[in-house]
Amino acid sequence: MLRYLLNKIALLIPTLVGITICAFAFVRLLPGDPILAMAGEHGVTPARYEELKEQFGYNLPVWEQYARYVGEVATGDFGVSISSKRPVLQEFKTLFPATLELSFFAMIFAMAIGIPAGIFAAVKRGSWFDQSLMGTALVGYSMPIFWWGLLLIIFFSGYLGWTPVSGRMGLQFFLKPITGFMTIDSILYGKWDALRSALSHLILPAIVLGTIPLAVIARQTRSAMLEVLGEDYVRTARAKGLSAARVIGAHALRNALIPVVTTIGLQVGTLLAGAILTETIFAWPGIGKWMVDSIFKRDYVVVQSGLLLIALIVMAVNLIVDVLYAVINPRIRAA
């Protein structure tokens, strides 16, 4: 098991190096540079431009800039934002709980609906329910998040007035963050109306962000279930005269869930990518919105370090999923 784990971790190192190169190169491949982005319509004189380039270290050869960057990151220094002048790591730590909280609720939404729907579709294979569910899943998977989010806002918040338009909590609540998770913080403060407000603010963005994972989970559950339902031991269980609920719940589902768990783990990347658009629409103060703002400002430092931090998280989650999988299924370890 230890060897398996070490192997997995060793594989992460080249990935990490690749990510630093990509993050560093991508932001520099974007046309325009941060100094001109800062200057706006005012423009800068050529002399001042050179002066600023030197101040920011952009006059150095690219490989030297990269070497500096990697050297700093290796010592845990993720740099200071060009525009806000705050340390990138500090901003990341402040904003990440918001993204995590949103992703968590999006995942709960996706699983709570996706898994039962998938099971039901598999059991009623070929029925109108199965057909329409798989059709809807395809639509959900292909839905442009931006459009979907605005549509929900205009209908539920604007027309019906059921949900708040955007933000994380009603503005009348002013809670100094303890954990940074608004739902947990409002419980810690014992403010139940604040909790209600935080939850109501989560509804629409969680639905929007959870739509794609929901579609994926539903389809994965359905196919895994179908496979298991065809197995001999299920037939045996049926032959024993067990009730349909018991066959599905106790025998089929547990085995079908293994690939589903993996799928759920792999959706973390999808969630973080989706967070970029969802957060921008719903004014959700997380890392997705932060990255978008920084790209527009050509804030090289935030973009490259932010990408790296996000990649680290995705890699860590994948590693955990791999390990869990090995724990659940000992055959993997040997392979």
């Binding site: 046309p31 001109l36 005012h42 002048k85 904003l95 403010k191 103060p285």
Partner: protein, 532 residues
């Protein structure tokens, strides 16, 4: 133990501030997060809304809703006859804000004023560089040419400050009303320096403005409370909240749902919906801006004014404006400066649409092909460069000129566009900083701006003489005459195609009173009230 203490402190803060819910609260849905709260170090309109216009005041102020200068922290001032020495007399008894992180022991005095400017250029000042914040560039201070014009700031006595210039510069007074010229507290700076917490200066601001800072949740909510000691009298609203909402559609939905009271910059497509709603008012004002298209006046045949006029005449400007601005509307530009600005010359007319006349001149000049530049960014003075380019291309095709559209990403676009050898016609625009005509004429068309922001590479001696003379003259009547003449030359020489001055919009709920649109594009909440 420490954790328990933090928790208890947070609980206390929450219960104290929880009481604020009953107070009169105004919510503004702002369009972006501020970079920080030190207006000397930032450049964006949203940065200034959140810092200089709420927390700080300046020696002189722009009149609410206008560009005229009125007294601020300085009750009065004198300018020497040679235009070189400005003496400011400070309002006595002005208090800096008292918060949980700073308790002032003295009133505002000349030291604060001198410090506010000194830190922006004096490399010896510990607040000028790395010690305070990394990579400080003081963009507005240098952008407004302050290092060139300011010789020194001096304290005469506690309530008198003297500014000496290197040469006369009439727009200086307007510069001092700008956001970067906000007056900060030297006492607070000294305290933070002693405590080794200098960076706090940009995150926990202290000023003398109408509102004081309470809290900022990164990228989410900024909270302010009315400054009880505000020298112009406490504001009517008790709490001011900025709810940061970047998406324009979500912002408007929030106002319509009553989640916020004021929101800026609606999408043109939403304007009809807003107008139809009975609970909100759409406020608009001609912006202090200009959209235009610069011809490179150094490359034949565009070096001939008649060719440039002909190109202007070939464009159906009315149709172009209608297509670009749609329901939002815009005022066709007669001059480079908008009609709301003093010295605007009402007698100058822009080229009228006359493709027949244009065709002949262009054929005689042998102009068959031209580059037409467009970028991807939405700007207040031009919501769609690409569409504008396509319409102009079609108009020019009708007079026998084939336009090739050149596209670049926004920052690269300006980098390439400002080069002296850039050919053809380049779409660009400008939003004024301080309401002074010099900020348009000299910034955009002075000879010294070639290669920086003079995209026409146009250097006309008569025009240049007039604007330089106007810059050195302090009498506004005299300056008006000079600028009026400059506009005549501009119209005759036509270094650019003038498009329009766009409208600036904000959506305000009907129970809000006293909110005014500002030509400078800033959003101010002093003097604003809200009925329950």
């Amino acid at each position: 133990m420490k954790k328990t203490m933090t928790f208890a402190a947070a609980l206390l803060a929450a219960s104290v501030l929880g009481g604020m819910a009953n107070a009169k609260t105004l919510v503004y849905c702002s369009e972006a997060s501020p970079a920080n709260f030190d207006p000397g170090t930032t450049t964006g309109g949203n940065d200034f809304d959140a810092s200089s216009r709420t927390v700080y005041s300046r020696l002189v102020e722009f009149k609410h809703g206008g560009t005229e200068i009125e007294p601020g922290l300085a009750d009065k001032w004198e300018i020497s006859d040679d235009g070189l020495v400005y003496t400011f007399h400070l309002h006595p008894g002005v208090k800096f804000q008292t918060t949980d992180y700073f308790k002032p022991t003295r009133d505002l005095n000349a030291d604060d004023v001198v410090f506010s400017f000194d830190r922006q250029f004096n490399k010896q000042n510990p607040w000028n560089g790395e010690k305070y914040l990394p990579n400080l560039t003081w963009d507005y201070y240098t952008g407004m040419d302050m290092p060139k014009y300011v010789a020194k700031w001096e304290k005469v006595d506690d309530l008198t400050v003297k500014l000496t210039l290197t040469e006369p510069n009439a727009p200086m007074l307007a510069n001092l009303g700008m956001d970067f010229a906000s007056i900060v507290s030297k006492e607070y700076a000294d305290q933070l320096e002693k405590e080794g917490k200098m960076a706090d200066f940009s995150t926990k601001p202290i000023g003398t403005g109408p509102f004081q800072f309470v809290d900022y949740q990164l990228d989410s909510v900024i909270r302010y409370a009315a400054n009880p000691d505000y020298f112009k009298g406490k504001e009517k609203i008790d709490d001011l909240v900025f709810a940061i909402t970047p998406d324009a559609t979500a912002r408007i939905q929030k106002v319509l749902a009553g989640e916020c009271d004021v929101a800026p910059y609606p999408n043109p497509a939403d304007i009809a919906t807003i107008k139809a709603n009975k609970d909100v008012t759409l406020m608009d004002q001609a912006g202090l801006n200009i959209g235009y298209m610069s011809y490179n006046t150094t490359i034949p045949p565009l070096d001939k004014p008649e060719v440039r006029h002909a190109l202007n005449q070939a464009i159906d400007r009315e149709a172009l404006i209608k297509s670009l601005f749609q329901d939002a509307g815009a005022t066709p530009a007669q001059n480079l400066i908008p009609p709301t600005m003093w010295s605007w010359n009402k007698d100058v007319k822009f080229d009228s649409y006359d493709p027949e006349a244009a065709k002949k001149v262009l054929a005689d000049a042998g102009l068959k092909e031209i580059q037409l530049w467009a970028s991807d960014r939405v700007r207040p003075y031009n919501p769609n460069f690409q569409r504008a380019a396509e319409l102009i291309q079609a108009d020019w095709a009708k007079v026998g000129v084939k336009a090739e559209i050149v596209n670049y990403e926004w920052t690269k676009y300006r980098e390439e566009g400002k080069k002296k050898e850039r050919p053809g016609a380049f779409q660009i625009g400008w939003t004024g900083d301080n309401g002074d005509p010099d900020n348009f004429f000299a910034t955009l068309f002075a000879c010294s701006a070639i290669g920086v922001s003079n995209y026409s590479s146009w250097c006309d001696k008569d025009f240049e003489d007039l604007i330089q003379k106007a810059k050195k003259t302090s009498d506004q009547g005299e300056r008006t005459k000079l600028y009026e003449q400059a506009q005549e030359i501009f119209a005759k020489q036509a270094p650019a195609f003038l498009l329009a001055h766009s409208q600036v919009y904000a959506v305000v709920r009907n129970n809000v009173s006293g909110f005014k649109m500002d030509p400078l594009g800033i959003h101010r909440f002093d003097g604003v009230d809200k009925a329950e």
